[in-house]
Amino acid sequence: MKKTQTKTTNFSKAHKDYVKRLKRNKFAIIFFRIFVLAAFIGLWELLTAVGVLDPFFISSPSRIVMQIVSMAQNGTLLYNSWVTLYETLIGFGIATVLGYLIAVALWWNENVRKVFEPYIVVLNSLPKIALGPIIILWVGAGTSAIILMCVLICIVITTMSMLSAFMSVDEGKILLLKSMHANKWQIFFKLVLPSSMPDFISVLKINVGMSWVGSIMGEYLTSKAGLGYLIVYGGQIFKIDLVMASTAVLCVLAFGMYFLVSLLERKYHK
């Protein structure tokens, strides 16, 4: 019985040394992680301060911080971050829900799946940015175009990943449920859905990254506000501090969203 493995509290010196080594290694990894970042920022600041690198082209950490502070003071930071975050979250939500539902429909009926499979493969390989002009023509320039771009980028991968997760559910388990007289809904809700949860969490993680790509790409195409807009605008007026500051904020927001999904993952694995 796996449960009754013996546990001892009197550890030998070798074990204590082993644990100490493990702890030391963990500490060293954390230390070097911080060190790499600090060294990068420090070196960047130093090289721009002494004039080796030109801050006009690559900015500097202190100038980025000052830029962020001034943006925070005049309200542009919060406003533009919110605009992009809003587009990303809506796009992420629509793509995930819709992509999932399409995957369910394709799983449900084999013939429907066979009909649509080649289209999905083509759509997946198409660079969605190519659809930019069409999107603007269809829904007009502005937030809806950006959200649609975001949806298009995430939806195909959501459908493909979830469909392959649904299809890889153990045939034997499906047979078991059938032998219990389960209908298709019951097979989906009692078996397919829960067993594809790990894949769903992976899809969420992928979509977090992809939806930011979508919204920034959308803002590059057509926008009057947002972090992507600030990046393009900063580039056009050669204000590299603005470009770098917006990118840094974007980094923090994207990481925040990824962190929330990984919290969900941890909760699921408990």
Binding site: M1, K2, K3, D170, G172, K173, L175, L176, L177, K178, S179, M180, H181, A182, Q186, K190, L191, P194, S195, M197
Partner: protein, 259 residues
Amino acid sequence: MKNILTFKNVNYFYQTKTDEIFALNNVNFNVEEESFASLVGPSGCGKTTILSLTAGLLKPSSGEILLDGENKIDRTKIGYMFQKDHLLEWRSVWKNIALGIEIQKPENKDEKLAKAEDLLKKYDLYSFKNQKPRQLSGGMRQRVALIRTLVLEPKLLLLDEPFSALDYQTRLSVCDDVYSIIKSEKKSALLVTHDISEALSMSDKILVLSSRPATIKDNIFLDLEGVTPLKKRKDKNFSDLFNKIWSELTNEKNSNKND
């Protein structure tokens, strides 16, 4: 005694894109109520096809299958146990056992849940009720799978090599457990196995199948001494019966080669 299962002149063809495979040829047999029957035969002969037909997962090409005297398969009368336990890892032991009840939503749901509790207590699994399947040993998992099948109170249990994934020692003891559970719950069972000694030690009757297209080659009634499969293995006729079935199966193989 009344028959729980009857196969009358059953033929079955598998259809594939390039071929039509004749799997079962005029199969006739009975399983009596509260008895334990086993199907042995060369691999790929169609043993599992017989179970799938019984469970209503396949329909016979011709012939008749009577379950509990009726020629309409009522799946609620059948419990299917597979080679793998197929426990759902995200559900606790209790939730796994209640799976069939959740699906079938029987009127006497509370009664069946109470029965599930009794079975867990009776077979020393009650303290693991809230554990996840990964915390159980292989033998315990297979017992949980059996209880999951039994709570639905099927009249006939179909066992498709349910012990083959276990190591030898566990296999012998789980065999004993499963046998005594089935007997004490007064169920009928149809076991498919490759293992002749397993079939001999558990069954009241062994049906020997020929190679494909399978037909019933021999029908051996057993009356070995001993209350458990392990004890039955000590019966003086055990090895003779083993050799008899073994030679029937090897003859089958050889005649196939000569064909």
